[in-house]
Amino acid sequence: MSRDGYEHEFIETIVEDVYKQVTHVVPLHTADHAVGIESRVHEVNSLLDLGSDDVVQLGICGMGGIGKTTIARAVYDSISDQFEGLCFLNNVRGASHKSGPMHLQETMLYETCGLKIKLGCVSQGIGIIKQRLSKKKVLLVLDDVDKLMHLQVIAGASDWFGPGSRIIITTRDKHLLKAHAVNIIYEVHELSEGESLDLLCWSAFKTNKVDPRYADILKRELAFSSGLPLALKVLGCYLFGKSINESESALDWWYERIPHNHILTALKISFDSLDEEEKDIFLDIACFFNGRKLEDVEDILGAHYGGSMKDIINTLIEKSLIKIDNGLVTLHYLIEDMGKEIVRQESPHEPSERSRLWRFDDVVHVLEENSVRNQLIYADFIFYLYYLLCFLSSVDSTNLQQFFSLFFLLYNILICLNMHVEFQAFIIVL
């Protein structure tokens, strides 16, 4: 700060600094009604061994929808005040797919030490991370990692971070943790029956008390969801505002179709309760818009269907199918997969028969189908080449006419090679 600067500027910098310190402590938004979270957070915290000065890497693993991220967030909130640098990298898998590993490093450097930087390559990022963080006590959470490479570029080794640092990695893949030499692993187990019932009731009736008339249905839903919080929540929301008979018959129908418990079943029940328009919009969001800005999504869908999407999006949020997180539309990957699978099933083998296309291979298949361009161009090309050869074998350099013919032939070959129009004009000028 220069001595002769304005006072108000100086005050602004102080406020900004303080604000940054303060916002560090603001807890992340955990689930609305987290059941059984306290005991789990307690277990994780004891594994983290917060007193010691070593760098501890801890893996949280379990199947999708079991609540890994929720636990990681709760742990992060409960201990974040003990660290100098904090970073919660949300959805590493999705983020790196969209913008690459360097972006992850940039985000992490910004969150932990406020460093705004544009990295040229991954190894440069590693260098800066080592340099900046090796003296700092940081808490780093990497949420939903699926590639070893991401761990290697963000948290390659324990000596990258200052003493007392803690790195928490959530993943579905236990082998990944082993490959990265993470020895402390917390495996998340399904909710117990009591906890499941509690969560289900809360999602369905927004209270802890079980309406005895619903007891039977709840029991069956419990069996469907097999203790997965995600499934419980979706099923609970499905029950919300439904009469007993309605839900009973829907469950019956499903139970006949798919006798074994499966999470997709639970999600599909909820999907089937939507009306046609809601289904369409849900499928659009699942196929195209996971992780996009809410405004953009509303714009595009509004133009597509002609009307306001607010109500329908709110319905989907109420049913726990989608979430709005920081202005971004997000879906749990299991729900996204279900949506994509429904569209794929419209025509499993022929993508041009489906209503929505988003995979590159499918689009190429549809767009390049019957594309005759390539063969045509080559036939043309060979034809001209043949003429050129005929010419060259009989060329007489004194003959001006032949010289021009040769030039035009060359020019035509260039056209065949699909040269840009400007370049063609250039040749003409020549």
Binding site: S99, C287, S405
Partner: protein
């Protein structure tokens, strides 16, 4: 037969180098296409035809100098063509195309002259 397709959404990471080599005709068949979004995909050429059912058209780097002549969408709500190759100087464009045609014709004439 591709008339079932309602939405085409091509959105990939920036430096993926995805490329489509097509003849530009495929969109003609998609009579119900309402949303077409293209981001970070290179096309070797522009479409010869765009369905008039389109309501959302967003195409980053639209590859040809003009939209197809028969494209008259009645319900288009969003039109975004950023980083495109559209030309504002239509007359010059036309004259270049004209010259190309003349030159080609000349070339063929000369070749006829030589061989027969």
């Amino acid at each position: 037969m591709s008339s079932k397709i309602e939405s085409l959404f091509l959105d990939f990471p920036k430096d993926d180098g995805k490329e489509v080599c097509w003849d530009g005709n495929a969109l003609k068949k998609m009579r119900n296409l309402k949303t077409l979004v293209v981001r970070n995909v290179r096309f070797n050429r522009g479409p010869t035809h765009l369905p008039n059912s389109l309501r959302v058209l967003e195409w980053w780097g639209y590859p040809s100098p003009s939209l197809p002549d028969d494209f008259h969408p009645k319900k288009l709500g969003i039109l975004k063509l950023p980083e495109n190759y559209l030309r504002t100087s239509e007359p010059i464009q036309a004259s270049i195309a004209y010259m190309c045609a003349v030159v080609r014709l000349l070339c063929i004439l000369i070749m006829q002259f030589k061989f027969y």
